[in-house]
C-alpha cells in the first residue's frame, strides 16, 4: 500500500541519518577523527593506536548512551501520548526526572561518590514514577486525569525540595554540580553505566512492544478499544511500567534531558502517521538523532567547557521545533 511504502521510506531515511550521526558523533570532538579512521577503528577493536582508544574507550560508549537516551525518551513519550491521548504529555510528567534530581542533589550534598549516581538516579526515577502511578490507582486500573495531576504535584514537590537543598545546604561547588546534572549531560559515563541502562531500557522496550497493539486500538477511543477486546487496565499498567523503566534508564546516564520525549513523538507521527506499530519503533532512531546532534553541539560549541545538553535542547531545539511545527505551517 502507498501509505506503508511512504512510512517505510521514512523509517529507512531515519535509520540512514542515524548511522551517519553515529559516525559523526564518534568523529567529532576535541580530537577530530576522519570518518574512515572511525570506521577502521570500529572494525578493528583491538588496534593499539590512539584513534582506537578514543573510539572504543570514550566516544563509542558516549554515542551509544545518546542513542539509548534519545530512543528511550522518545519511545516513552510516544507511548504515553498515545495512552493518555494527549499530545502535551512528556515522559517526565510522571515525576521520574524530578525524583531523580532531588535524590542526586541530596547525594551530592552528602558527598556520595559520583560512580553511584547512575544507580541512585535509576532507583529514584523508577520509584517516583511507580509511586505516582500508585497514587493514581483507581480500582484495578489507573485513572489518566489522576495520573497527570499526581505527576504534576509530585514533580513540583521534588522541584521545590531540590531548590531547597541547593539554597540551604549545598556549597557553591556542590550547587554547580547539581545544576550541571539538572542541565543534562552524557559526560562521565562508560561501558559499565551504559550496560546497566541498556539492560533496563531493553526490559522497558520489550514491555512497550507488548503494548503496541492495544495502544493502536486506543486511537479509536477508550470505549471502542474495550469493545474490541483491549484490557484497558492491563494496558495502562504495562505502558506505565515500560515508560518508568525507559525514563529511569535514560535519566541514570543523562540527568534531565527535556523536550525529546515531548517533541519527537510529534515529529514521528508526522513522518510515519499515528499507527503505533510504526510510530513506536520509529521513535528510536528519531529520538536518538536529536540527542546525538545535541550532544555533538554540546561538546564542540564552547571551547572551554561542555554545554548542558538539556539546556541546549531547550534553547536551540525548541525554537527550531516551533518554527517547523507552527510558524512555517502558518506561512504556508
Amino acid at each position: 500500500m502507498a501509505v506503508n511504502a511512504r512510512r517505510g521510506a521514512n523509517v529507512v531515511a531515519l535509520l540512514i541519518v542515524l548511522a551517519l550521526m553515529l559516525i559523526a558523533g564518534i568523529a567529532i570532538g576535541s580530537v577530530g577523527l576522519a570518518p574512515a579512521t572511525v570506521v577502521h577503528a570500529l572494525l578493528h577493536p583491538h588496534g593499539d593506536d590512539v584513534a582506537t582508544t578514543i573510539v572504543w574507550a570514550l566516544r563509542l560508549p558516549r554515542v551509544l548512551i545518546a542513542l539509548l537516551v534519545g530512543g528511550a525518551l522518545a519511545v516513552s513519550g510516544t507511548m504515553l501520548q498515545g495512552l493518555l491521548r494527549n499530545g502535551l504529555v512528556d515522559p517526565y510528567l510522571t515525576g521520574g526526572s524530578a525524583g531523580a534530581a532531588f535524590t542526586i542533589a541530596v547525594a551530592i550534598v552528602l558527598g556520595a561518590p559520583a560512580p553511584s549516581f547512575a544507580a541512585l538516579a535509576f532507583v529514584a526515577a523508577l520509584g517516583t514514577t511507580l509511586g505516582v502511578a500508585a497514587l493514581a490507582r483507581s480500582g484495578r486500573g489507573v485513572a489518566p486525569e489522576r495520573l497527570i495531576l499526581a505527576g504534576i504535584a509530585v514533580s513540583s514537590l521534588f522541584a521545590g525540595l531540590t531548590t531547597l537543598v541547593i539554597i540551604e545546604w549545598a556549597s557553591s561547588s556542590a550547587s554547580l554540580e547539581i545544576l550541571s546534572w539538572l542541565g543534562g549531560s552524557l559526560a562521565g559515563h562508560g561501558w559499565n553505566d551504559l550496560g546497566w541502562a541498556a539492560l533496563y531500557a531493553t526490559a522497558g522496550a520489550v514491555l512497550a512492544l507488548a503494548a503496541v497493539p492495544a495502544l493502536n486500538a486506543l486511537r479509536l477511543g477508550d470505549v471502542r478499544a474495550r469493545a474490541l477486546g483491549v484490557d484497558l487496565d492491563r494496558t495502562r499498567w504495562l505502558v506505565l511500567i515500560a515508560s518508568s523503566l525507559l525514563v529511569a534508564a535514560a535519566v541514570s546516564v543523562s540527568g534531565v534531558v527535556g523536550y525529546v520525549g515531548l517533541i519527537v513523538p510529534h515529529v514521528v507521527r508526522r513522518l510515519c502517521g499515528s499507527d503505533t506499530r510504526w510510530a513506536v519503533p520509529a521513535s528510536v532512531p528519531a529520538g536518538a538523532i536529536v540527542v546525538l546532534l545535541a550532544d555533538v553541539i554540546a561538546r564542540t560549541a564552547s571551547t572551554h567547557q561542555e554545554l548542558p545538553i538539556g539546556v541546549l535542547l531547550s534553547v536551540v531545539g525548541v525554537p527550531a521545533f516551533l518554527y517547523l511545527g507552527f510558524l512555517r505551517r502558518r506561512a504556508a
Binding site: 500500500m1 501509505v3 491521548r85 507488548a210 503496541v212 497493539p213 492495544a214 493502536n216 486500538a217 486511537r219 479509536l220 477511543g221 477508550d222 470505549v223 471502542r224 474495550r226 469493545a227 474490541l228 477486546g229 483491549v230 484490557d231 484497558l232 507521527r269 502517521g273 499515528s274 499507527d275 506499530r277
Partner: protein
Amino acid sequence: MIDARGVQLGYPDRVVLRDVTLSLHPGELVAIVGPNGSGKSTLLRALAGTLVPQLGEIAVDGRRASTLGPAERARRVALVAAEEHVDDGVGVREAVALGRLAHRPWWRWSGDARDEEIVEEALARVALAPLADRAIATLSSGERQRVWIATALAQEAPALLLDEPTSHLDLAGAYATLDVLHGLAADGAAIAVVLHDLNLAGAAVDRVVLIGEGTVLADGPVDAVFRSDLLSRAYGAEITVLRTTDGTLVAAPARRPRNGR
C-alpha cells in the same frame, strides 16, 4: 445467546434500571427504545459485559459475562458505542482491521490473509469499500457510523449490540443501516439496537424492548408494545398509536393545547 435475569444496573451513587429480565436470540433483530436518560445505553453496556450488574446475572452463551476476559468477550459480543473522539489520521481500513484484534495473540501486530479477507468483506457489506483508504476524520457522520458497524462485523461476534447507529442519519441512511442489520440477523446473528426514533423501530424491527420507569415496561412484537397506554407511561407524555395503510404502527404526539384554546 445473551440472557439477563433479575438484573439491577447503575453506578455507585444511583440505580438506573432494576429487575431487568430479557434474552437475545440468534437470528433476531431487537430494538431497545425509551425516553432520554432511561438507561438504554447502560443496558447495552451491561449486555456487552462491560458494565457489571449490581444485582442479578448476565450470561453470554451460558457463561457469566463478568467472568469473560476482554478478548474472549470481544469474540462473542461486538458493541458499537455512541460517538467518541477518534485520533486524526486513522484510516477506514485501519479501523476496521482493529476489529480483528481479539482474534490474534498479543505478540502478532498484524492480521494474516484470512483477517484481511474478513476486513474487506466487512467493508463491502456496509458499502465502504470505495472509501477504505480515506481518513475517518474526512467522512460524513453517516459514513463514520458505517465504519463502526464494519469494525464490529470484522469482530465476527455472534452477538451485535449497537447504540443509536442511526442517529445523524437521514431516513434513507437509517433504512440502509437497518437493512444491513436485518441481513446479519438473517445470517444468524443476535442483534440489539438502541433506537432514539420510536417509529423507525416500529417500521423496521420484529421485537421491541420498551424501557421506562426504571425497568423494562414491555418486551414483545411491535403490535404488543406499541400501545398508547404503555408508550405514554414510558415517555411520560401523551402518545397516540396509529396504523398506516400498509399496517405499520406509528406513535404520534397527541395534540397539545395552544394559546389557551
